[in-house]
């Protein structure tokens, strides 16, 4: 049981460190391409909450299956949804160039 308490405190500490990293990085003048990397600590934090607080690794196999299925479908949704805006080339039209 002491191990579990230690695991909870470690998870909490990691979450606070990552939150501080995010807070610190927020005001850096990052380029447009690098701004998405601010999400990286957040994704690690989500993993810590899932494993540390929600004990996903200890739960039943079906629970892990549903969690992975949720992430996979989310990746498909975001991946396919982003394809069009990320790959489309917008050519200026007469009305936009007139502005």
């Amino acid at each position: 049981m002491k191990l579990r308490a230690k695991q909870l405190f470690t998870s909490y500490l990691l979450l606070l460190i990552l939150l501080a990293v995010q807070f610190g990085v927020a005001k850096l003048p990052l380029g447009e391409a690098a701004r998405g990397f601010v999400l990286l600590p957040a994704l690690i934090m989500v993993g810590i909450v899932a494993i540390g607080f929600m004990e996903l690794g200890k739960g039943p196999r079906t629970a892990r299956f549903f969690a992975v299925a949720g992430v996979v479908w989310l990746a498909i949704l975001l991946g396919l949804g982003c394809l069009d805006p990320m790959t489309r080339v917008l050519y200026p039209t007469q009305s936009t160039t007139a502005d």
């Binding site: 807070f23 990085v25 600590p41 957040a42 994704l43 079906t62 982003c82």
Partner: protein
């Protein structure tokens, strides 16, 4: 064949089978919740890609201090709840109740900061999309889109927090029924509460961080 007689409902082979089914069921529900929030994140990506400078301008108007404090509050609330689970598994019901009350109070503090402090400040600053929107062109339209996302997602997340607070209160009120070997509702509510925390962890950089330093 009731739960009171042999520890589980008739359709399950053991009490453990019943508990695992409840936990798996909650994870299935959380997977559907991911699908619920997914399109909102997609809308953010799409609109940000269309007008990055306007989204940067919008992000700069948000209150980073309150946003960060709220993130810390929810993380601490999740920790408190997890300790509640830890204590009931050790048979310490009183400590479990205390942890859950702390989790509830921290969740309540989040709601107060968000909707009684931050939102009124945003309204005062003229950040609600509409004719009186504070930001001037050329970023005006895109920044309004940013604040549509901001108000909508924080409202939806707030609704989830309210449901979570209700569930925690329900667990505390029924605390006498739970023991070290029979506490599945506490586990299931804890999963939901941590998920609400997870959603906020993703919303925090989308709203407050990305583009702030631009």
């Amino acid at each position: 064949m009731t739960e009171a007689v042999d520890g589980h409902e008739f359709q399950y082979s053991t009490a453990r089978h019943q508990a695992e089914t409840a936990v798996s069921g909650m994870w299935l529900f959380l997977a559907t919740e991911m699908m619920f929030f997914g399109p909102l994140f997609l809308a953010w990506i799409y609109c940000r890609h269309a007008g990055p400078t306007a989204f940067d301008a919008g992000a700069k108007q948000t209150d980073l201090f309150i946003g960060t404090l709220n993130t810390a509050l929810l993380i601490t609330s999740s920790l408190a709840y997890s300790f509640g689970v830890f204590f009931i598994e050790a048979g310490r019901r009183r400590a479990m109740i205390q942890c859950l009350i702390i989790a509830w109070l921290l969740g309540g503090a989040f709601m107060l900061l968000k909707f009684a402090v931050e939102w009124p400040l945003d309204f005062e600053k003229g950040l609600f999309p509409g004719a009186d929107f504070a930001l001037a062109p050329p970023d005006r339209n895109g920044a309004q889109l940013f604040f549509v996302f901001y108000f909508f997602t924080t409202a939806i997340h707030g609704l989830h927090v309210i449901v979570g607070l209700g569930l925690i209160a329900w667990v505390v009120l029924r605390a006498r029924e739970f023991t070290a070997s029979r506490h599945t509702p506490i586990l299931v509510v804890g999963l939901y509460w941590s998920f609400v925390d997870m959603v906020w962890i993703i919303l925090y950089p989308l709203i407050y961080l990305i583009g702030r330093g631009a």
